[in-house]
């Protein structure tokens, strides 16, 4: 009995080492969003001139389960995830709203002309002020917003097929079924 007590420090050490070891496997650049389960910010962005899509505002997002994607033409990972959004738009899986972040309007427009435009509505956030209200700290970022305009999920970095199939699409389904 007393013997067992002597092993307590060792056990405590291994518990701590295990915990810290687990901590090392986590990516410190991924910060959980403070906005999960909170309403989307109140905002109204101008349209992206020449993109042929309506402007984006709080009211435009509410009413339907939707994705909100923050992108920029200067952002390489945005280019990586773009085909996924193109497919979602083609198959009409879920509406995707775009926020063009700190990008010249003509650059964004040309980028969309080259790669395709999957967005239902696009807001042009040239100075990045609205993005801060969304808690954006690096592009691309993608949010899942439910019908009531509540943010349910956020992904920082490019969407991969795995994240789409395992996290985003099931969540969209769930949110649609929940009245």
């Amino acid at each position: 009995m007393k013997r067992a007590l002597y092993f307590l420090p060792l056990a405590a050490f291994f518990a701590l080492a295990g915990y810290f070891g687990w901590g090392l496997t986590r990516d410190p650049s991924k910060i959980p969003s403070a906005l999960i389960d909170r309403p989307i910010p109140e905002f109204a962005l101008p349209e992206l001139a020449g993109a042929g899509r309506p402007a984006l505002s709080t009211a435009a997002i509410k009413g339907e389960v939707a994705l909100v994607n923050v992108f920029a033409s200067w952002c390489l990972p945005c280019k990586v995830e773009h085909p996924i959004f193109m497919r979602l738009a083609r198959e009409r899986v879920v509406p995707i709203h775009g926020i063009s972040y700190k990008d010249k309007a003509e650059d964004s427009r040309r980028w969309l002309a080259d790669l395709g435009n999957p967005y239902t509505a696009i807001g042009w956030d040239f100075d990045g002020r609205v993005a801060i209200d969304w808690g954006v700290y690096g592009v691309p970022e993608t949010f899942v917003v439910d019908r009531t305009g509540t943010i349910r999920f956020k992904h920082v970095g490019p969407i991969t097929p795995e994240i789409l199939d395992r996290q985003i699409l099931p969540l969209v389904e769930r949110l649609r079924r929940a009245s």
């Binding site: 403070a34 990045g128 002020r129 969304w134 690096g138």
Partner: protein, 157 residues
Amino acid sequence: MTLRRIGFALLFAAFGAAPAWAVLPHERLADPALEARARALSLELRCQVCQNQSIDDSNAPLAADLRRIVRERLSAGDSDPAVLDFVVRRYGDYVLLRPPVREDTYALWYGPFAVLILGAVGAAVYLRRRRPDAQAAAPALSEAEEKRLRALLERRE
């Protein structure tokens, strides 16, 4: 002589230069009191991009945006806690370089002291227990040893 002067001048230029802050001149507020508060608040806020720098230190564009927002809020009459809260609402507690003392951060703030106290108590208990044991366990001196001990002690006196 002139060479030495040039040398000194170069040294001065290298080490005597004002520290380069990331805060750019055009970002500063005209009111020195407000600007001082803005600087103090900026030191409390973590830059999300280069995570161990404050937004005061960081050259990242996002840090510049946040510095501007801090100044905007202060100019609009916000108190210091209101400004911090404004940023925390968007980016979470993680932006605070000094985490708040709250129930869920007690372990963070007080954990090390708890471990220290626990260790001290453990060490004290261990040492207290060991001492009488050690005395009891020492074998009694034989007659010859007693004699020798007495002889040694007497010699010293």
